[in-house]
Symmetry: C2
Subunit: 129 residues, 2 copies
């Protein structure tokens, strides 16, 4: 597959895809004789992985580390698992923060809905901003 197809599939720009490859967030993609990138199914999976992890704010650093471990072969299963567990921990913490913020937003919006009806903005106990 061409870089264009991958871009469209994942909503990335060609620059971003090349950048990901350059810094090692995905492994090197093979080229045609002409020097043009030709993405295999394997490459696509790597792109998908990068997109998914990045969408949850996993830093490039971690992705690069993971790719490196994968390239070192089967002896790195434990290291990869540890890395993923560490990432999971951070994603979970972030997820919890998002939930807390959602609750706050829901509460505030409900207070504003009330205020729009009654003309008065009021908060339970402590108040809010």
């Amino acid at each position: 597959m061409t870089i264009r197809e991958i871009c469209e599939k994942y909503g990335l720009t060609a620059d971003t895809l090349r950048y990901y490859e350059r810094i090692g967030v995905i492994p090197t993609v093979n080229r045609t004789k002409g020097g043009i990138r030709n993405y295999t199914e394997e490459d696509v999976k790597w792109v998908e992985n990068a997109v998914c992890m990045r969408s949850a704010g996993v830093p490039m650093e971690k992705l690069i580390e993971y790719v490196k471990l994968c390239q070192e072969g089967d002896s790195t299963f434990q290291a990869r698992r540890d890395l993923l567990a560490e990432v999971r921990e951070e994603v979970q913490e972030q997820l919890d923060r998002y939930k807390t913020t959602m609750e706050r937003l829901n509460y505030k919006i409900s207070r504003y809905d009330e205020a729009i009806k009654t003309g008065v903005l009021s908060w339970d106990s402590e108040g809010c901003k």
Copy 2:
């Protein structure tokens, strides 16, 4: 309360707190005769709001806009509600992405746990990276 106390309470640096005030993510804090910031309960609530929203990736832009609307008085209830609803939409989308990533991580980690036991890394159907 002093800037130091607020820093400790929310795990921010004094530079960050001053920066927030400077760009309008929180309203201007009153000073002592000596010119030193003296945070009221009200100010603290604004800081808490900023910290909570920022922790879910809400851009400064939105927070500044919200603070401005609040300062314009009761005529902006609807505008504030709309702004919060827009923010909620984005936070929800991000939350969903985090959930998807968590699932992927859980799956991968379970596969690695298996691999560590058996010595062989295998994926259901499509495979993964």
